[in-house]
Amino acid sequence: MLRVFEWNGIKSADDYVDETIDRTIRKIDEGHIIDNLLAYLIGVARVIVKELHKNINRVPVSLDDIPVEPRFEEQEVIEPEHREVCFDQCLKELTKDNHSLILEYYEGTGNEKIRRRQRLADKLGIPLNALRIRAHRVRKSLENCIAKCLEVSSARNN
């Protein structure tokens, strides 16, 4: 649910998830029968996203208020060095196979990257799609590790 808002450019996604749940509960209280709750929630979230987009478009913005840099760059609060230290540390914690897989998978650009991934899949004896999923999961575990590492680092600094 959170992703619905995130992937639609909504900053305070958490707040709108709460709003989605509140609206759904109200409908149930009003006596609406909901067959598929998850689908219903997605539907409500999509409605909220639409409303937000409409409101954003209607609110006049001063030229001075238009950000020069992308909005997400303003949110940087973690020191880049800390992140890289955590990245290296967590990369070392990966198994040898996963370590080489994540680096080889994200090596290269464009068509070369596609060919490289196909060869990596051939080397591992798995289909390309399986390789994509494996790389994604390794990356996810790496990012979780880095997130924890950064939390610890931040706590120490505070």
């Binding site: 619905v4 992937w7 996604a13 997400f72 680096l103 290269g108 650009t109 490289r116 790496l142 990012e143």
Partner: protein
């Protein structure tokens, strides 16, 4: 695979908000209700972030990305993707790529190697090639020689085997021949012995057998010289030649009977022998059976097997000296 790429591209389009409202809603439901599809969407997010940090997105996509992907989680992911991109760029080319992208010739001659080492490497390589060629040549020659020797050895073994067989056969034949020689010698000895016995018997027969001619009819008394048989001392066999005249039978049976009509000697199937215008049949009787006295030889003509007809009686008188 093409389908997977299409799915990924559709997911990326979804994330960039480039699909129609209907498709956006439909895909949102699919992605969030199916875990596998949701993971596909996360992979598409990885890909999108990766392309963004490597500056592979078009201007339009980049703008859409920056507009939509602004949550703290994605911002953090973008930072990590930048580090990841930096790490993979700073790493040496992976083995997978080297094996596939660089030709074997370039690998051999060190396209990525140090220039100063190339001549030495090339020289070593040439030396290696020549050495290998020489080894291959020697190897092929050795193999041919080995094959020839093996063939010769096989032929020799075959000849030895054939010779051994021939020797064995010759030995068998020699043994058989020796046996035949022995048998022949024994046979010759046996024949010689038989010949000697026959000759001895003939001598004995000639010296101890006497022949008498008998005529049909009876004798009148001791003084009657007709049909008188005189047995001398030392005579063992008496040949009784019975005169049968014209003798119409081809075979005869003769029975030597004593004075009491007891048969003392039987002679079946006698064949007539023509002599001096008449025919005779011979009965050989052991001398010891004939004591002095009157005897009779009853003769039957054989008309058919087991059928006889009385022919003549020959009475004779035996006297001793």
């Amino acid at each position: 695979m093409a389908q997977q790429i299409d799915q990924q591209e559709t997911a990326i389009r979804y994330l960039l908000g480039e699909l129609s409202e209907e498709d956006q809603t439909r895909l949102a439901e699919q992605f969030f209700l199916d875990e596998r599809k949701f993971e596909e969407l996360e992979i598409a997010e990885d890909e999108l972030i990766d392309r963004y940090v490597r500056d592979e997105l078009s201007t339009k996509d980049k703008r859409s990305f920056e507009t939509r992907m602004s949550s703290p989680r994605i911002v953090e992911r973008i930072e990590l993707a930048r580090i990841l991109a930096k790490k993979t760029e700073s790493l040496p080319q992976s083995q997978v790529v080297e094996n596939a992208d660089v030709s074997w010739w370039r690998q051999l001659f060190g396209a990525t190697g140090t220039l100063s080492l190339r001549p030495l490497f090339v020289a070593s390589l040439i030396l290696l090639i020549f050495t290998s060629a020489a080894l291959v040549f020697v190897g092929i020659k050795w193999r041919d020689e080995s094959r020839r020797l093996t063939q010769q050895q096989r032929q020799q073994e075959e000849l030895d085997r054939q010779m051994a067989e021939q020797r064995a056969r010759y030995g068998e034949l020699e043994g058989s021949l020796q046996k035949l020689r022995q048998e022949k010698e024994e046979q010759e000895k046996r024949e010689a012995r038989y010949q000697e016995q026959i000759e001895e018997l003939q001598r004995q027969t000639q010296s101890l057998a006497l022949s008498f001619t008998l005529f049909p009819g009876s004798v009148r008394g001791v003084s009657d010289s007709k049909n008188r048989v005189t047995i001398q001392r030392g005579v063992s066999l008496i040949n009784l030649d019975l005169e049968i005249g014209a003798g119409e039978f081809s075979r005869y049976n003769a029975y030597v009977q004593d004075s009491d009509s007891n048969t003392i000697s039987k002679h079946p199937g006698l064949k007539p022998i023509p002599r001096r215008g008449s025919k005779y049949i011979r009965c050989a009787v052991a001398a010891k059976l004939l004591r002095p006295g009157v005897y009779n030889v009853h003769v039957e003509g054989v008309t058919a097997p087991r059928e006889t007809q009385n022919f003549e009686d020959y009475q004779f008188q035996v006297v001793s000296r």
